[in-house]
């Protein structure tokens, strides 16, 4: 009897392990279908002098936008992201903004004027932009709690933040 119970436990465990393996594989293939690559980690200095590392936001849904102050859609996106950040930062949403203005003072002025509260980082060597495949701006990358790139936008229309918000809420619920 005891032997049977033991056998049942072992069989159950083996089944569970197999199911777990298959579920894990399923999750990986889903990630592959949506193009969910791991977001490359980076550390950059912000305009306020602090250093920020992406991996320190692991566990949060993270939005990274790449921009310059000379680009109109970028400025619109920054303003809308500021609103989104104000609404959702307490819910586990982080925003990192990567700027590569040739004149950092222009970006600094924009940040001050618009009261941008999230870190705006300088990517002077454009190394991070290259790693994220930035060829045009604005570019917005959404990263889930596991550090996977889930959505990428290569443009911005006014009011598009509603769409961002819905996707971010979905990612928060996962």
């Amino acid at each position: 009897m005891a032997a049977n119970a033991k056998r049942w436990d072992v069989a159950m465990l083996a089944g569970l392990a197999m199911a777990t393996f298959l579920l894990g594989a399923g999750s990986a293939s889903r990630a592959g279908e949506t193009g969910a690559d791991a977001a490359p980690d980076f550390a950059l200095k912000a305009f306020d002098g602090r250093n920020h590392r992406l991996s320190e936001l692991r566990g949060q849904v993270v939005l990274i936008n790449f921009w310059t102050s000379r680009c109109g859609p970028c400025r619109a996106q920054m303003s809308e992201l500021a609103e989104l950040h104000a609404e959702l930062s307490g819910a586990g949403v982080g925003v990192l903004s990567v700027n590569f203005d040739s004149d950092p003072e222009r970006a600094r002025e924009f940040i001050t004027t618009h009261g941008i509260a999230f870190p705006v980082l300088r990517d002077d060597g454009r190394e991070v932009s290259r790693r994220y495949g930035v060829r045009g701006i604005p570019r917005l990358v959404m990263i889930d709690r596991e550090g996977l790139i889930r959505h990428v936008y290569n443009d911005h229309r006014t009011g598009q933040t509603r769409e961002y918000r819905a996707l971010v809420l979905d990612l928060l619920e996962e």
Partner: protein, 190 residues
């Protein structure tokens, strides 16, 4: 927590993250199975087994990490450079750049959390690589905010002979009270 985070490679970290997730699935499946199929005692036994399995996965992950390191950095060529910090009253660390035999091998920006971890006694492995046996030169450049809130940049160098065993080098930042200045020391671990 800090040293583990600092010491693991990206791949190992990913595996480490996957392990608890899978264990979570196991627990959930065990929970589902328990609803109608097994008694409370049996469930408890399964729970223990699942926990043991989880521990085994973690141990396996650790072994894989060590094996990976041994393969990538064999002892006869291995050189590792660590950063540590003491007090930090006269120096707020911003970045460390490392040159080995004239070639930049690491350039690391430290966040506030990382600096705090260093001040709490954490040690950061800044670089791990391979060099041939013989004489080598290491130059570390520290940047940050020094006494009186001024930008501070200081270099420290070390010449060392690489033998058949692994070579460990520590870059230590400490305060010199009598001079009210930070001190940057490069030393070999024997």
């Amino acid at each position: 927590m800090f040293p583990m985070k600092f010491f693991r490679s990206t791949g190992a970290r990913a595996a480490a993250r996957a392990a608890p997730r899978r264990a979570g699935w196991l627990a959930m499946l065990a929970g589902c199975g328990a609803v109608g199929l097994v008694s409370a005692e049996e469930f408890s036994a399964i729970d223990r087994d699942v926990e043991a399995l989880k521990q085994e996965v973690l141990a396996l992950n650790r072994d894989l990490f060590l094996l990976e390191e041994e393969l990538l950095f064999p002892a006869n060529t291995q050189v590792a450079v660590f950063v540590s910090m003491d007090v930090g009253e006269f120096f707020a660390l911003d970045a460390v750049s490392l040159r080995l035999n004239g070639r930049e091998v690491a350039n690391y920006l430290y966040t506030e959390r990382e600096v705090e971890a260093l001040l709490r006694g954490g040690v950061h492995r800044l670089y791990m690589g391979n060099v041939r046996a013989g004489e080598h030169e290491l130059v570390a450049v520290f940047t940050g905010i020094g006494p009186h809130g001024r930008e501070y940049r200081r270099g420290a160098e070390l010449s060392f002979a690489k033998g058949i065993g692994p070579k460990y080098v520590e870059l230590r930042i400490s305060d010199v009270e009598r001079r009210l200045q930070p001190e940057f020391v490069v030393r070999k671990w024997e």
